[in-house]
Amino acid sequence: MSLSPEFLDRVRKFKKNRRAYNSLRILTVLFLLTLPAELLFNNRPIVMRVDGQWFFPVFCDYTYKDLGGDDEIPVVSYKAEMFDDFIAGRKAEPVTALIFGDGSGRADGAKPESGVTTAVPRKFWALWPPIPHSYKSFYSSKQLERQRLASPFSREEGGVRLPGARVERHLLGTDSYGKDVLARLVYGFRLSLLFGLALAITSTVIGCVLGAIQGFFGGLVDLLGQRLTEIWGAIPRLLLLMILSDFLSRRGESTELGHLLMLFVIMNLTSWMGMAAHMRAQFLAARNLDYVKAAKSLGVSSVRVMFRHILPNSLTPIVTFLPFSISSSILALVGLDFLGFGIRYPAPSLGELLSQGQEHLDAWWIMVPTFLTLTSLMVLLTFVGDGVRNAFDPRYK
């Protein structure tokens, strides 16, 4: 399928629209910047060297045994007491290790009382990401009290400046679970965009196929399809999504990714209708055109006529719809998250941040950045969409 000169002409027209083109560029840059978020915001070193061996904690999970220790315990956090003890060659008390080894950072720098300093410190070198927090890095319960809803500027508490800036490099403060807001924003932004993009693409494909079948065959198929679409479309989308997602969360997948995928599937159920309606109209019009008739009379199969002949000539609605489809997908996800029916908590989500912002109105550092991120993302997408529509849709001049 080669692109027609007309198509390229429209792309050129789009590029001439400065507002839209710049928005697209900004979006692309932001997307590319947040794509390697694991390397920029993480509580694991990108590369580290322990006793002469190389490790890549960002990409692999290690146990202490892998690193040369004795225990078969996975290293959950590289900012935790347990890990520090391991590097220093101390043996942490097993019980506290189990309780606080979940990621407790040793902010005050004090040595644990129970630590037995017998062994030799290990040779250690690590390359840390610029911000040592990931969207789910967590703290020991002792530290959490201080980390909850910490504002980015006030590191003081009761006139005493809190020590331990090593753990506390929170540029935008923390949320009510003590997680870094900036990290969650960045990860959430990436997730939203990826989710929106993927959902837009799959729903476009689904919509194309269904719309094409309706439009191409017409008659009874069309009538039936129209009625079914009407019924399915009359149910409020958010309500349906809430019911399905609620059902999902009470019995569904246990892993973060599995849950996200299921959410993706159910959102696909409701998002194809606009596309299908447009494609149907395109195909209805196209099926009486001469080139289609010619192809049919030459004995070309229906599927081939639909997807090799008509589809390339019906690209306009697909391209014009895509940006708006992305933004509405993102919004649906954010709305679900906001209501608590979306992604499960530790996963980074803009909607969840927004609802935290509403809950804790005093914590402006949650609310305002989230608002700005969401609105600018949406406005940029809208600009792009508007530009695309102007360039591609002959009705808009």
Binding site: A234, P236, L240, I243, D246, G357, M367, F371, L374, M378
Partner: protein, 482 residues
Amino acid sequence: MIPTGIGVITVFFAVSEFVPGGPLDQVETMIVDQANQAEGGDMANFGDEDSTGTVAIDPQMRMQIKRKLGLNHDVLERYLRMLLWYGPDSMVSSKEVEPGAARKLSFRGDSLWVHRAGDAYYVFINACQTNGESSQLTFDKEAGRLVSTLDRSIQFNPQTGRQVNGTQQLTVVPSRVKPESFWELEYLSNGDRVRVRETRDEVYLQESAWAALTNGENWHGLFLFKFPTSITKNKKCYELIRERLRISMRLGVSSFVITYTLCILLGVTKAVRNGTVFDTATSVLVLVGYGIPGFVLAVFLIKAFGPSADSWVSLIPLRGIQSPPEIYNTLTPMGKFWDNVHHMIAPVICLTISSFAGLTMLTKNSVLEQFHQLYAVAARARGLSQRKVLLKHVLRNSLIPLVTGFPARFVMMFFAGSLLIEKIFSLDGLGLLSFTALVERDYPLIISNMFIFTFIGLTCRLLSDIGYVIVDPRISFEGKKS
């Protein structure tokens, strides 16, 4: 239109029915949760406690829940009952009555007692008139029988199933009705008949079919706008919806009117001044507005101008659509009006902000298109002023495409937009009602809500079709006569 409505309700019914975690499971989990939360002493009320500490729901309890939810029928009957059904639910099952005990049940406004002694079941009308005096029945636990306030005691004869000491008007029905047959008995307070139906292991009381048919009250189902009772709120869904509909209507209609007025004005102005700075500036402005999601803006507005101490400027009043009644009632009429407007400003802004772009551009493009049509050019050529052409000729024609979006937009403002916004501004509208219903798993309420939404949506579609004909007489929905 009606098939679509049925289709929507069917799909919804299927979703709530076949998706695991349906109504019964939900209520059971709810009860188990409650029981687990309650202190040990209270647990006995909910069910038997296992040795593991979890609460199992005993079968009798389960039956009662099922009956309350109407789940004692099979799927098809439940589905039909939801849409349109005559006759009341079967009222009581003997399974709910333990031997030697009696249960008081309400049936069509009166109370009945069902008493079980051995294998037999007896049904009594609770209140009856004897010689102008009314008698009340109570159950004497120690004696294990029903006692009338008038006669101190009632005796019945299981063989004849008839004779009662003193109070002739009490009717006693033995359970030994033929299996799967009906036993009709006079229902005394208003001459209706009650049916007693015995299946293999249960006795049901039902209203007799004739009484059910002739008595209009007993037709129910969504199509007659007779909604089921909400599980959680203990109120008829209809009343709940009516209360909330007022608020939703007010929000929906005002944002609707505001959007359309502003968009048409702006669109026409933009068309007239096509290509000027004003045109470009407003285009960007509307686009930005389109980009900002309403509920995100709502959260921001609450933060920035909300009533809490943490906001920057306190402009938006506290929750709700009006001030609380104790304040509201002291206001002057003018003050009341302002109070209403004041409470609505922020929600309406959030509801409307994203709908400006589409409508404005649509109006603009449509007006521009019409200006270039031959009739408009001709009118200009005849020397009519631009203004006159616009108002008299172009405007009416360019409004046609606007009417298309009418129903979708209206319903959208009712639900999709407002669920989030109602939640954020705590306005007790329909959106919030369905949300809480969903959170509390109140399936009758959800279904009723769905029905209302669909109904409004379809009515709007009809209205927009009518609107088409009014705006454009060329459109005819009858077949072409050629």
